[in-house]
Symmetry: C2
Subunit: 223 residues, 2 copies
């Protein structure tokens, strides 16, 4: 795909096109300069632009709320979504192995390349320009920030819901642990005694199994 088409999709014309090419170059492609250093820079660029935007948009959100909202916008899945919006997979330069295995569709590669492009725009221009580019790429997502309650983990949501209803918090109890130390499966129960609700959860850690059981308890409560 032509690099000019990508520049028009990005609504940014590089002065140093080699920076864009480097941003598109996965380490599997060649032994020379790849996009990993630009990704390092782009990660910080994105974090500041998103932090500033949600700081202004959410004047009453706590530091913890802001951190959760930011995380939902800059994590691998969110960045891969932005990358797919501009068909970035069509432009990524991959080595043979990665090409064959469909690396251009992999979230980690799309997300890393997206960050590298932001780093490249910043280096090619300045902070104000890359800020404009990010606000443009993220326009849909920044207009539809996730609600704060959706960002909390299920166990916290369950606990807060029960507290708001003046119901005792749930009890979690491990039922079974299978496997050796580095490959365990936990099974546990979540009991809300006063409502006579009991759900079970499974996961590769105690914490994950608790979240699983809490999700199920929330479903029961919503019925």
């Amino acid at each position: 795909m032509s690099i000019n088409r990508l520049q028009s999709t990005l609504d940014y014309q590089f002065k140093q096109e080699e920076l864009l090419k480097q941003a598109l170059t996965h380490r599997s492609f060649c032994r020379g300069a790849n996009n990993e250093r630009l990704e390092f820079l782009g990660d910080s660029v994105l974090s500041l632009v998103i932090s500033h935007n949600i700081y202004e948009q959410q004047p009453n959100a706590s530091e913890g709320d802001l951190s959760r909202i930011r995380a939902s916008l800059v994590n691998e899945a969110a960045l891969a979504r932005v990358a797919r919006d501009i068909n970035l997979g069509d432009y990524v330069l991959l080595g043979g192995g990665e090409l064959k295995s469909g690396g251009f569709r992999r979230e980690s590669i799309l997300s890393d390349t997206m960050e590298a492009i932001l780093g490249a725009i910043y280096l090619d221009s300045n902070f104000t320009q890359v800020q404009n580019s990010i606000l443009y790429l993220y326009r849909v997502y920044l207009q539809n920030l996730p609600s704060q309650s959706n960002l909390k983990d299920p166990k916290t949501r369950l606990q807060e819901y029960l507290q708001s209803e003046k119901i005792d918090i749930p009890e979690y109890a491990v039922v079974k642990i299978i496997g050796k130390s580095h490959d365990q499966t936990f099974t546990l129960t979540c009991r809300i005694l006063s409502l006579n609700i009991e759900t079970s959860g499974i996961g590769s850690s105690r914490k994950k199994a608790e979240q699983d059981a809490a999700i199920k308890a929330l479903k029961v409560l919503k019925k």
Copy 2:
């Protein structure tokens, strides 16, 4: 302490002095606006400025090296050092309890307040200005970046040293685990068979005990 004196130390005059006051206000001081949201913003500001500087200074460093160098400059201890350089503890606004217990000397409070001040300068001016302020505050530390080998953990350093000398890598073996699952103490040994070196390490996790034993082995090797 007068806020004007702090502004002259910072070499920055606030247009909105209330932003500086908010940055100095620990949550223990009052129920109103404290510095936590500014700290959220300042953390990202600092990360980008430092990332950009070391990206330029270290053209051959890998992404991993850059991440380790950045971490050494933006962690709590490093930020508290910068805060002490400008006597920030004299200006922090703390509640009664924190005041009595010497909160103005605590690294976490100094570090958080430092980040909040950077967030406040950014909001009061723009990215270029806060970049200048950070490069000024960090001038000594950015001129003396830690060497890449010093940033690696002791176990890695030991292994790389032995490999460079074509000596077999060390063997770690757990000798003793005391305590229950959430409060354990590990004792283990690190043996370099061909050199007849054996050291022991103690720590609250296997990993920490290994690092402890590796530090001791490095000391023996340097003799």
